[in-house]
Symmetry: C2
């Protein structure tokens, strides 16, 4: 029987080599599964979570809401992502996590993760790297929103999704599916949905991307990279290979 936590173990193993005991320790983590529909909350800002949350299937996003009700999407999470080390380690969740599609999640008691992290240093390091890579992506998002114009922002985001989905084995960089509405793309880039629409239509008209439903086909990857000022260093794909 395949353990439901396998995708997470594989992802962590991508950051640092885990031995059999490390993997066994991870596989033995207690958890409870739950299915959640689109828009459903996985973690709510202000909660005092006792569990960490792992995304087993589907897509989710992290977001914050300002006092005026504006929403900023902070990250998009793929299956296998430990969605909530951020929140569950701190006492009060400072942001929400919501389902983008139908998702299945595993809630793992935070105590069990912390113990394992310190019992098995390689697991601890892998978890650490995972949060560091999350942080690196967050910094690039800040830069994207703060310094690039609308077209660049969108192109950059679409390039990021392409590479992350490819790395996770969930698509190809030139053809993938991600269930984000234009309004959600807007909230992720600090734009309005109207303007996101105009930019997408432009990319479409220039034959750089081709859109059908929520599927994206990047016709001209080189051009897209150039428009989005995209450099994949910040994703730290291939970290393990680099570490020696």
């Amino acid at each position: 029987m395949i353990n439901a936590l396998e995708p997470m173990i594989d992802k962590l193993n991508g950051w640092i080599e885990l031995d059999a005991a490390d993997r066994a320790g991870l596989a033995a983590l207690p958890y409870s599964r739950k299915k959640i529909g689109p828009h459903g909350y996985i973690v709510h800002e202000g909660d005092r979570p006792t569990h960490s949350c792992l995304l087993l299937r589907g897509f989710a996003y992290r977001q914050k809401t300002t006092g005026e009700g504006a929403r900023q999407i902070l990250a998009v999470q793929l299956a296998g992502d430990l969605v909530d080390l951020q929140n569950s380690m701190l006492r009060v969740a400072d942001h929400s996590v919501q389902a983008l599609s139908h998702v299945e999640v595993a809630y793992i008691p935070r105590g069990a993760i912390i113990s394992l992290a310190f019992d098995r240093p390689n697991v601890g390091k892998a978890l650490w790297y995972d949060t560091l890579v999350d942080g690196s992506i967050a910094r690039e998002w800040t830069t994207n929103i703060g310094q690039r114009d609308a077209r660049q922002r969108l192109a950059h985001l679409l390039c990021e999704f392409a590479l992350r989905l490819e790395a996770a084995g969930l698509g190809r960089r030139t053809e993938y599916e991600i269930p984000l509405t234009q309004e959600q793309l807007a909230d992720a880039t600090g734009l309005t949905s109207v303007h996101v629409n105009r930019c997408l239509r432009w990319l479409d008209g220039e034959h750089i991307v081709d859109r059908a439903h929520r599927a994206i086909r990047i016709i001209d990857w080189e051009r897209m990279v150039q428009i989005g000022d995209f450099d994949d260093t910040y994703l730290h794909i291939g970290l393990k290979r680099d570490q020696q």
Copy 2:
């Protein structure tokens, strides 16, 4: 003799209670000191750092530069901050750290920190919390830049500095000094220096803040909080008290 690492130990002790052995372990970390002038690089994007860097004295900032040369300031660091766990743990620095004022830094071999983190779980947890709080602040910055207008952004940032400096014992929330130029404030908020100037002048004219040199006096804290839509939860000040 007072150990130069004391401010860091105090800060970490603010996240989780450290016992004598934890503190001794931290105090025994090997390090080399270095003085760096304003604008000098502490870590350069693209470096493969072998050391982590602790800010002993002065102010520093983290930044990324886009392919077009636009600069985004990602964080401002105060004395006592471990400025570079982010970068030094990953193999390639994905952003730079530069001195804002005359600073003194301590370079600590990353191996020594990693060993200590896993030998003494409390130290590991404290370091972990430290990066998590950094992450939380980063998320609020993203939200600030993505969703708030110019006035709100600036007011929010100035409120953040006020509380962080107060928490670090480096000023009072209603009166503090921070050596940021208006151009740097602009790069931190995704605005232009011209517009930052206009917003500051407005805050000034409304008698909400009073500026002299790089010192800021917040005359009307309540109003400032309201204008900046500021809620300090994300700073996780008093985390230890909340944790039990």
